[in-house]
C-alpha cells in the first residue's frame, strides 16, 4: 500500500473524513460492539504495526485493533461512547493517513472467487502428485502383470475422477456458457479434453486397454488453474487499489434536517432533495442547486477552467466543484452515485458498451485454435478408419489429439505475462483495472491529454505581470489571512512576511484590512475598484492605483520530458482542454505539444475521440476531470491520475497515483513489452502443438509423452513471461 503515502488528503488534515463518521458511529452510552475498517497509509514496518495497534488499544472501550500489514487495513472493534473519529485521529496523530474503508462488492466477490480457485488448484496439485505416483510403475515398471496394472489404474481413477470434476468446475461452467452464447473460448477445448481423457481412461482401465490418461487430466487442470488464479489475483488487487484510492478521498457532507439540526453524513447517504451546508474549502459531493450564499466555486475538476467562478442562487453545481470563499446552502439534485451530468452519464454508458466488445488476444487465438484442433482430430478419426483401423482405435487416436493439444500453455501464456507486467506497474504506483487494459494500452498510437490537473499541477501559480515586488508584498499581507487558492498562490510567491491588521473577509468578493496602516483591498476587480468585473485578482490601497495579479496553472515539471518520450515512441500527442484558448495554447507550447483544442465540452471531447477513431487511430485518453469521464470511457485505452474525480477514476483503465506524467510513458512501454511477451508465448505454445499433433495422429502420444510435453511447454511459457525488463 505504498501507493497511498502522500496522496492528497481530503480537506484540511483529514478532518472531513473523521467528522464524516461522527454521525454514524457515535452512539453514546451504547454498549454494543462497534466495528470499523480503516485504511491506513504509510504503515510498512513491524514498528509501525506495534505503534498503531497499541495507540488505538489505549482508547477507552477498545477491544480489538489489528492492522493487516499486507493490505494496510486496520480492523477495530470497541464498546461504549467512543466516536469513530477518535480512532481516525489517533492514527493520524501518529503521522499516518487513515480513512474509513467500505468493502466493495466486486472486491469481496473477487476474493471469494480467488479462494475457490486456490482450493481447486491445491486439489488438482495433490491429485497430480498422487496419480503420478500410481502411473509411474505402469510406465516404467517393466514386466508388471495385468491385474497389478488394473489395480493401480483403478486407484488413479479413484483420485483423478473426483479431483477433476471438483477442480474443473469453473472451466465446465464457462465452456457451457460459451457454447450457449455461440462464442468459442479456450474453456471449450479444455473441458472437452479433460472429460474425454477421463472417459477414455476409464474405458481403458475397464477393458485393459493400452493407455490411461488420468495424470494428463489432473495435471492439465493444475497448470491451467495456476493461470486462472494469477488472473483472479490481478483483478482483486486492481479492485483493492482502486477502492483504496477512493477511500482516501472519501467525501462527507453536512446535512441540514428539516428540524434545523445539522448532521454529518457520508456522500453515499445523500438523497436528492437533501439540504446541505458546504463550508469554505469543502468539495461538493453531489450535483446540487445553490439556494443561498455568495461564494466562488473552483470548477477545475469539473470543466478544467482554472479561474474561480462566482456562485449565485439557482446555479447548478456539479459534484467535484470546490467551494472557495463562503458557506453555501445547497439542495442535492441526485444521489452521489448518480451525480454527474446526464450527458456525461450517456457518454460513459456508450464507452462501456464499446469496451465490452473488445476481444482479448487469447480469445482471438482461441477462435483460430479451437476449430483447427477439432478438425484435425476429426480428420485423424476418419483417416484411421479409412486406413483400416477399428472404430475403437480410431476414436482413441482422435481423443489423444484433443488431449495433447489441450491449450495448457496457451491458458498460461497471457495471465502470466499480465501478472508480471502488472507487478512492474504496481511498483511505479500504477494500477490496472483489468488484464485486457494492458493489451489495449499496448496498441495505442495517439495520446490525448487533458490540460488542467493532468498536464499541469492543477494549482494556480502567480504569473509575471504589471506589478512590482512592493505591490506583491503589500497584497501578501492581506493574502496571508485567507485560504483562497489565489491568496495562497500570492503567499507562495511572496514567501513569509507581515500580516495585515483588522482584516475582514467579504465572501465572494475579497478582503479588506490595514496594510502598514493604510486601508487596502484584495479581491475581484469590481470589489477593489468600481467598474465592470475583469479577470484576475486585484489589489489596491484606498484611492490608489489598482494592480492586477494574473494566475496560471503551471505545467508539471516532468511534462515536457514525458511528451518528448511519448514522441520518441512514435505516438502523436494532442491537448484537449475545457480551459480558455490563451491558457491552453501556452500550456501546449510549454510542453512541446503542437496540436491543441481549447474550450472543449464533455461532448466535444468525446466527439474528437470518435473522430480520431474513425480515422483509424487507437487513442489513449489521459484526464482527471468530470468533463473527461466520457472521453475516458469511450477511448481505446484511458488513464487517470490518482487525484481525479471518482467517476473518471472508475472510467479509466489505469490509474497512476503519482500524477507524474512519466507514469503514462512507463505504462505504454511496459504494456508494449508485455504484448511482445504474450505473442512470443502464444507462438511457443503453438509451436509445441504443431510438434505434438503429428505424434498424436500417428498414435505415438503415450501418456508419458503427453505428460512431458505438457510440463515442458508450460515451463517454457513461464520462463518467457518472467523475462520482463527491469
Amino acid at each position: 500500500m505504498t501507493a497511498l503515502v502522500g496522496l492528497p488528503h481530503p480537506g484540511p488534515s483529514g478532518g472531513s473524513v473523521s467528522s464524516g463518521l461522527g454521525g454514524q458511529h457515535a452512539l453514546s452510552g451504547d454498549q454494543r460492539l462497534q466495528t470499523l475498517e480503516l485504511l491506513v497509509g504509510g504503515a510498512k514496518c513491524a514498528s509501525c504495526l506495534g505503534r498503531i495497534e497499541s495507540a488505538v488499544l489505549r482508547l477507552p472501550g477498545m477491544e480489538t485493533a489489528r492492522l493487516n500489514l499486507t493490505t494496510g487495513k486496520l480492523h477495530v472493534a470497541w464498546r461504549g461512547a467512543l466516536a469513530a473519529r477518535a480512532v481516525v485521529e489517533a492514527v493520524i496523530g501518529l503521522g499516518y493517513s487513515a480513512a474509513p474503508y467500505d468493502v466493495d462488492k466486486r472486491e469481496t466477490d473477487a476474493a471469494r472467487e480467488e479462494r475457490g480457485l486456490v482450493i481447486a488448484m491445491v486439489v488438482a496439485g495433490l491429485a497430480t502428485v498422487g496419480v503420478m505416483f500410481l502411473s509411474e510403475p505402469v510406465w516404467f515398471g517393466g514386466d508388471m502383470d495385468a491385474s497389478s496394472i488394473a489395480l493401480l489404474r483403478w486407484l488413479a481413477a479413484l483420485i483423478a475422477v473426483p479431483a477433476s470434476l471438483f477442480s474443473g468446475q469453473s472451466f465446465f461452467a464457462s465452456a457451457l456458457a460459451s457454447i450457449r452464447a455461440r462464442r468459442m473460448n479456450m474453456d471449450v477445448p479444455i473441458s472437452l479434453a479433460v472429460i474425454l481423457a477421463l472417459l477414455l481412461s476409464l474405458y481403458a482401465t475397464a477393458t485393459g486397454g493400452a493407455h490411461a490418461y488420468f495424470d494428463a487430466a489432473v495435471m492439465l487442470l493444475f497448470f491451467l488453474l495456476i493461470g486462472r488464479l494469477l488472473d483472479a489475483r490481478l483483478r482483486r488487487r486492481a479492485f483493492a487499489a482502486a477502492n483504496a484510492l477512493a477511500a482516501m478521498q472519501a467525501s462527507s457532507a453536512t446535512r441540514l434536517s428539516p428540524g434545523g439540526v445539522t448532521e454529518v453524513v457520508r456522500a453515499a447517504d445523500i438523497r436528492p432533495g437533501d439540504i446541505l451546508l458546504v463550508s469554505a474549502g469543502e468539495r461538493i459531493a453531489v450535483d446540487a442547486e445553490v439556494l443561498s450564499g455568495a461564494s466562488e466555486a473552483d470548477l477545475r475538476l469539473v470543466t478544467g477552467e482554472v479561474d474561480p467562478v462566482a456562485t449565485f442562487p439557482g446555479q447548478i453545481l456539479h459534484s467535484g466543484a470546490l467551494n472557495l470563499a463562503a458557506p453555501l446552502r445547497i439542495r442535492a439534485l441526485a444521489a452521489a452515485d448518480h451525480s454527474l451530468m446526464a450527458d456525461v452519464a450517456r457518454l460513459l454508458e456508450a464507452g462501456e458498451q464499446k469496451k465490452s466488445g473488445y476481444r482479448r488476444l487469447a480469445d482471438k487465438v482461441a477462435a483460430i485454435y479451437v476449430p483447427l484442433v477439432h478438425t484435425t482430430a476429426f480428420v485423424g478419426f476418419v483417416g484411421w478408419i479409412v486406413l483400416g483401423a477399428s472404430l475403437t482405435q480410431a476414436a482413441f487416436i482422435a481423443v489423444t489429439v484433443l488431449i495433447i493439444t489441450c491449450p495448457c500453455a496457451l491458458g498460461l501464456a497471457a495471465p502470466l505475462v499480465q501478472v508480471v507486467a502488472a507487478q512492474k506497474l504496481f511498483e511505479r504506483d500504477i494500477f490496472l483495472s483489468s488484464g485486457d487494459a494492458l493489451e489495449r494500452l499496448a496498441t495505442v498510437d495517439h495520446v490525448v491529454l487533458d490540460k488542467t490537473g493532468t498536464l499541469t499541477l492543477g494549482e494556480p501559480a502567480l504569473s509575471p505581470g504589471d506589478w512590482s515586488n512592493e505591490d506583491l508584498q503589500d497584497a501578501a499581507q492581506l493574502a496571508r489571512c485567507s485560504r483562497h487558492p489565489l491568496s495562497r498562490a500570492i503567499v507562495a510567491a511572496a514567501r513569509s512576511g507581515p500580516v495585515a491588521q483588522g482584516v475582514r473577509e467579504h465572501p465572494g468578493l475579497g478582503m479588506e484590512g490595514l496594510v502598514d496602516g493604510r486601508k487596502a483591498r484584495l479581491g475581484r476587480s469590481g470589489f477593489v475598484a468600481p467598474g465592470p468585473d475583469r479577470p484576475g485578482l486585484w489589489f489596491s490601497f484606498e484611492g490608489g492605483e489598482p494592480r492586477v495579479f494574473i494566475f496560471d496553472d503551471i505545467i508539471r515539471p516532468d511534462a515536457a520530458q514525458a511528451v518528448a518520450r511519448l514522441k520518441a515512441l512514435g505516438l502523436e500527442i494532442e491537448l484537449l482542454s475545457g480551459d480558455s484558448v490563451g491558457r491552453v495554447e501556452a500550456g501546449a507550447a510549454a510542453a512541446g505539444i503542437d496540436v491543441w483544442t481549447a474550450s472543449a465540452t464533455p461532448q466535444s471531447k468525446a466527439a474528437r475521440l470518435a473522430e480520431l477513431e474513425s480515422a483509424g487511430r487507437k487513442v489513449l485518453m489521459v484526464g482527471d476531470g468530470l468533463n473527461d469521464a466520457g472521453a475516458l470511457a469511450g477511448a481505446h485505452a484511458s488513464m487517470a491520475p490518482g487525484g481525479a474525480v471518482d467517476i473518471s477514476r472508475l472510467a479509466a483503465d489505469c490509474i497512476y497515483a503519482t500524477g507524474n506524467l512519466n507514469a503514462v510513458v512507463d505504462t505504454i512501454v511496459i504494456s508494449r513489452k508485455a504484448r511482445d511477451r504474450m505473442r512470443e508465448n502464444f507462438a511457443l505454445a503453438s509451436a509445441y502443438n504443431l510438434l505434438a499433433i503429428p505424434l498424436a495422429l500417428m498414435g505415438w502420444a503415450t501418456p508419458v509423452v503427453a505428460a512431458i510435453a505438457m510440463s515442458l511447454s508450460s515451463v517454457a511459457v513461464t520462463l518467457n513471461a518472467l523475462r520482463m525488463p527491469r
Binding site: L67, T70, I119, V122
Partner: protein, 49 residues
C-alpha cells in the same frame, strides 16, 4: 504386492489429511496477512505478566 493394500490407502489418507489441513488454514485466515505475521514475531509481548 499385498503390502500395496496397506500402503496405498495409507498414502491416500495422508494426502487427504494434507488437503484438509490446507483448506482449514486457508479458511481460518492464515494467508490473509503474510507481511504482518512476519512482523509480529519480532514484537515483544506487550504485557508479560
Amino acid at each position: 504386492m499385498n503390502i500395496l493394500l496397506l500402503m496405498l490407502p495409507g498414502a491416500l489418507l495422508l494426502a487427504m489429511l494434507a488437503l484438509v489441513g490446507f483448506v482449514w488454514a486457508l479458511k481460518s485466515g492464515q494467508f490473509e496477512d503474510p507481511a504482518g505475521d512476519a512482523a509480529r514475531i519480532l514484537q515483544d509481548e506487550e504485557r508479560p505478566g
